[in-house]
């Protein structure tokens, strides 16, 4: 085994270790709840009119935003909690459409989580007392996947149900124009 061969082996080992960082599939079934959900008591998430600096992203976001088990859990919650009753499969009905790029209350995951937790005028109920914040964030992650926001390898292509929409793995990413300038 010439030395060059041994060197290439070492390089391969280092490369494998470096890859160990990605945990897109980590199943966070946390035993302990993580403190208060969205800031209680303050008014529904402050919308940042004009150019003011948007609120820093909640640290929990990265646990849910591109996390495959969270999105899948959110998908089953979406049907169990009958969100389709108003939003149907994201196309909207009594409630606004969720698969387009229009976000009245912000399209970032923490803003969607706040919308679910606090409820919104014109009929969106507050789910804070019905769902734990773990579930709320999972629902938020799934809602974002309806408009193709998360990366394509975190979403699943179809549910085991009547196929209502095109597979999320093939839906192009909608550029999110919120009524404010929240960056993604």
């Amino acid at each position: 085994m010439s030395s060059r061969f041994r060197a290439s082996l070492a390089l391969l080992a280092v490369a494998t270790l470096a890859l160990a960082a990605c945990d897109r599939e980590e199943r966070h079934s946390r035993a302990k709840p993580m403190g208060e959900t969205v800031p209680a008591g303050t008014s529904p998430d402050t919308i940042w009119p004009g150019g003011t600096v948007p609120q820093t992203l909640d640290p929990r976001a990265k646990l849910y935003d591109n996390n495959a088990p969270a999105i899948s859990q959110g998908q089953s919650l979406y049907s169990q909690m009958n969100c389709g009753g108003c939003h149907s499969h994201g196309g909207g009905g009594m409630g606004p459409a969720l698969m387009d790029d229009e976000w009245r209350y912000g399209g970032r995951i923490d803003q969607i989580a706040t919308s679910i937790a606090e409820g919104r005028p014109n009929g969106m109920p507050s789910w804070r007392s019905k769902l734990t914040e773990d579930q709320i964030w999972q629902l938020a992650a799934y809602v974002r996947s309806m408009s193709g926001q998360p990366s394509k390898d975190a979403v699943n292509s179809r549910a085991d149900a009547m196929s209502a929409t095109a597979p999320q793995t093939l839906t192009p990413r909608e550029t999110v124009q919120t009524s404010d300038t929240a960056e993604q």
């Binding site: 088990p69 390898d153 179809r158 085991d160 149900a161 009547m162 093939l170």
Partner: protein, 654 residues
Amino acid sequence: MTELERVRAEDQRLAKERQRIARDGPKLTGAKLEARLERTWRRPPGILGWLATVDHKEIGRRYIITALLFLALGGMLSLAMRLQLAQPDSNLISPQRYNELFTMHGSTMMFLFAVPVMEGVAVFIIPLMLGTRSTAFPRLNAFSYYMYLFGGLLLWVAFLLNIGPDIGWFAYTPLSGPQFSPGKRADIWAQMITFTEVSALAAAVVLICTILKARAPGMTLARMPLFAWAMLVVAVMIVFSMPSIALCSGMLISDRLVGTQFYNHYEHGDALLWQHLFWFFGHPEVYIIFLPATGFVSVITETFCRRPIFAYPVVVLALISTGILAFGLWVHHMFATGLPRVGYSFYTSASMTVAIPTGLQIFCWLATMWDGRPRFQVPMLYVVGFIVTFVIGGLSGVIIASVPLDLQLHDTYFIVAHFHYVLIGGAVFPLLGILTYWFPKITGRMMSETLGKIGFWMLFLGFQLAFFPMHFAGLLGMPRRVYTYPAGLGLELPNLLSTIGAFVVATAVGLFVVNGLYSLYRGAIAPPNPWEASTLEWATTSPPPPYNFAHVPVVDSKTPLWDAEGELPVVTGLRVDEKETLLTTVVAASPDLREPVPAASLWPLILSIAVAVFFISSIFSPWAVLFGSIPCAIAAAAWFWPKELNRNPEPVIT
């Protein structure tokens, strides 16, 4: 001067040039011939030469070493599982991790160890046993190994990156479907299947063509060694069974990637479509693992009882009928899925019938032992261990072939005990025996007899201690694939015993590896025929030179070396300056063609890298199927393109 005349003149010149080619024969033989053949057949030097080799012996050696590495990795997973199951309600390992462990254990053992190690031994030994210089399509053989290697790397790197599969080794839908297996875990398992299935199909075509076309002159089908018969039946089974799993894993990937509805019952799909297609491959797969082992047992029994196997035609017909019957019993894996009971009774009787050919083979081995003069060296010990262990597994198989019994025993630890008895007892015992038997031929050194005997007895007793209690755990109601079990059901003792037994088996396999490594450097130097065997691979040196045989031997009986009075009949006339081997007709094996053997080339490796990139990237995006195929096409075209474009001096026959 038209083109035709120019070509005619060229033909005349080449015909004269042909006279001056050096060929082996009575004038060019012995050490001078071997030196020239060595230079022609030698592997190009350096790392690139090592990667470009098409020598079936090097590829066979790599197959065996890689497969044994995966055996060790799979074995360590089973130890972790046994530790978790050693006592009730233990939370040594989390459920998610345990589910990944048993999925990786099953997939590694079935796809990355059992089938490839049998192919590896066959690729190394079959050309030697048939008296030829190389397998057919040696580059395809190299490509097959690299595809297997990349498939194994894909699965294990994904497992280490915490995106390993957790769906079981047979990945029933809808659990492995898009909704209940989020992320890419199931895709990686399914793509590993595509790798190993392409590798197995390539190796199967190589083996079929070698066995049918490249046998030594005179070795008619009736004089072919039983191991070659076993590998021929196995290769044909691979050709007919592997497409089934390729289709269903392909359909699973497309369900998970582009949203097809194959397994979605809401959209007219069916979850059982997966089970039918998987087990149509699954049951032949376990015979693909078992039949080479019957070939090993026939080889060892013949040599160590010093007489030809009793009733050769019966054993050959038993092999063929097992191969055919194996395709008719896959539904016995699905007795609990509520299909019509009348259909089940057909599969009960088919599962019973498949036991008859194996029963006859066992009789023939025992009769050979009874009528021969057995020497109980290590390989023969493994054969005895095989018979004692495998027959228990075969009989428990007959028990679960009956529908009412299987409804109680299906998916319990009784089944885990059954298939470990037939897979470890039926395939790993003969494999360790045959590795000890052919170790001198592969490495040129003898394995140590004492270490071998200690290893055998430790493995045999450890195996019984590990897997016999599992019958009782199954009868006491312990289902398969549970990461824990409650106390108070009487399952504590069987599981504890199994855990202890598992560690004894692990040390025994470790001892075998130590024996192998030790003998590699300090084992006794092996003569060409240390066991005084009868088949042709013992007619050349240990380890054999790159060209295998200086002159291609001629065969006139089933046991050539026992019938050759001091000298080996050979044919001559093959080129010395170019790699060339002899092809013979399929049935009578009379000399037919001189086949140029392709030179070593890097293209098989480059194509397998291109195909690997194509497969892995098509997990993540359907567009990779389109763009990934372009480099593959280029590499395949370059592989086919001859190295230099001048014409070789052979006459053209129209």
